[in-house]
Amino acid sequence: MATITYIEHSGETHKIHVENGKTLMQGAVDNLIEGILGDCGGCCNCATCHVMVDDAWVSKTGSPSEQESELLDAVPEPTETSRLGCQIIVSDDLDGLIVRLPEEQF
């Protein structure tokens, strides 16, 4: 179990307990966090679960796969720490993780 902080573009903050083994995307969908859509259900097909990982956590969340990188390159406002929420699997190591959500998921 990890406590994840999702910060919406508006600044609204959600602190959520997410079970180990779930993805960041699923954690957001289960809690109806508006800034994450997860259209494709988590198969790395749509980039509607774009999150920006807090700098301090980047080493823990790891780096994106090739398919993920390509999608991320084409999101409206990619950043150095952009990831797809469906590709980050929650574990105890990520307890305290902070991610920011973009203005729009497209």
């Binding site: 969908v29 289960d30 109806l32 198969c43 097909n45 749509c46 980039a47 390509e70 390159d73 084409a74």
Partner: protein, 406 residues
């Protein structure tokens, strides 16, 4: 709690979004979700992909876990069919005779496979593929070395062919049209999929119509084609499209025309009733005509509009249609709808590679893109289509120009 009740009929993608969205929009009354299948709403796309292959189980396919429905105080009644609706008295009657009152009603009844009426279709070993129960039956017949025939060369048929072949079955796809995916894509893409399947050992027989099935001891053994060919088969899957589940709505007197007719707010002809998902015939504002879509993003986004309408708010459903298909290691992502295009532009090598994009233009504007292992082209196309911008076909085709600079 208020004394109002919203009943949602059908428990799949649309419903799984509509029910919690209702709470978010401020609905304080009861919410009852009624679904005929015995499962909580689950992701349907993996059925012909990772669920068929055994990589995913039912639990991991649930759209939201049971706890979420509890948290949002959504009463879920599974394995229960709604039999009829009485709009005058605002009640629904369930298959067990129970009668429930509603203040608001939502149709999320989706679609079902189009059935064929051919001799021998009732033999064992012949299936349709729409839900978990179907795939569980199919899985019990997947035996390496045995023969499978897929009737219908649409996306679901081709995905299923890929999965069965990956599991060692000898697979033949039978398609009536001159090419697979004929209804939805350009000839170049059809030719690509034909090549892909051939390279992976699946044979595709086009311009072939199935006239019946023959069996032994009640089990299918052959698929009969109009040209006289008899294809040996131990397993047959029929995937020739779907029909919307409109009968309940029709019997209740709602306006139905290839789906339950709704406006851009997912509102039906009855102010207390909305509909969302595969079952709706709705206006598409980007393409300026009405249509019925079969896709997950359509179901979820339209459900959000439906939830708003039920709460007396307005949220226009105005999303760009998109779709995906996974076959072997090849990812197809489709942005938009190609219907009505007057120009096709190809980027990359569709003849020998497994990475290219097909762009469809109308009057100089991009209206659709089929992207094979080209996520960037897909992402950028979504935006270009939604913005209705004119594009330069030469730039689209020029691999020296990155998608961002189209």
């Amino acid at each position: 709690m208020e004394d109002k009740t919203c009943i949602i009929i059908g428990a799949s993608h649309a419903a799984a979004q509509l029910a919690p969205s209702l709470r978010q929009q401020g609905w304080q009354g009861k919410i009852i979700l009624i679904g005929e299948e015995p499962h909580l709403p689950y992701h349907r796309p993996p059925l012909s992909k990772t669920f068929l292959s055994g990589e995913q189980d039912v639990e991991s396919m649930l759209i939201r876990p049971a706890a979420v429905y509890e948290k949002f105080d959504i009463e879920v009644r599974l394995g229960m069919r709604v039999e009829s609706i009485d709009r005058a008295n605002k009640t629904v009657t369930l298959v067990n005779g129970e009668c429930l009152e509603y203040s608001k009603l939502a149709f999320c009844t989706g679609a079902r496979p189009r059935q064929v009426d051919l001799p021998g279709v009732d033999l064992k070993g012949i299936y349709y593929l729409r839900n978990i129960a179907d795939v569980e039956r199919i899985k019990s017949r997947v035996i390496a070395g045995n023969r499978a025939v897929i009737v219908g060369g649409g996306y679901i048929g081709l995905e299923t062919a890929a999965m069965l072949s990956s599991q060692g079955m000898k697979v033949t796809v039978v398609e009536m049209a001159p090419r697979v995916l004929a209804r939805v894509t350009a000839p170049e893409l059809s030719a690509f999929y034909r090549r892909l399947h051939r390279e992976e050992g699946v044979s595709i027989k086009t311009m072939a119509s199935v006239t019946g099935f023959q069996g032994r001891e009640g089990h299918v053994k052959q698929v009969l084609c109009a040209d006289g060919e008899e294809l040996p088969a131990d397993l047959v899957i029929i995937g020739i499209g779907v029909v919307p589940n409109v009968e309940l709505a029709e019997a209740a007197g709602l306006v139905v025309d290839n789906g339950i007719v709704v406006d851009q707010f997912a509102q039906t002809s009855d102010p207390d009733i909305v509909a969302a998902g595969d079952v709706t015939h709705h206006p598409n504002l980007i393409y300026s005509h009405s249509l019925r879509l079969e896709s997950v993003p359509n179901a979820t986004e339209q459900a959000k509009s439906a939830a708003a309408s039920l709460c007396g708010k307005t949220l226009v459903y105005n999303a760009l249609p998109w779709f995906w298909s996974d076959q072997y290691k090849v990812k197809l992502q489709i942005a938009g709808l190609s219907q009505g295009h007057d120009q096709v532009v190809i980027r990359g090598d569709h003849k020998t590679s497994r990475s290219f994009a097909v762009f469809y233009l109308r009057e100089g504007k991009l209206i659709c893109a089929d992207c094979i292992n080209r996520p960037q082209e897909f992402m950028i196309s979504k935006r270009l289509i939604a913005q209705g911008q004119s594009v330069d076909p030469q730039r689209l085709a020029d691999e020296a120009i990155v998608p961002r600079d189209f």
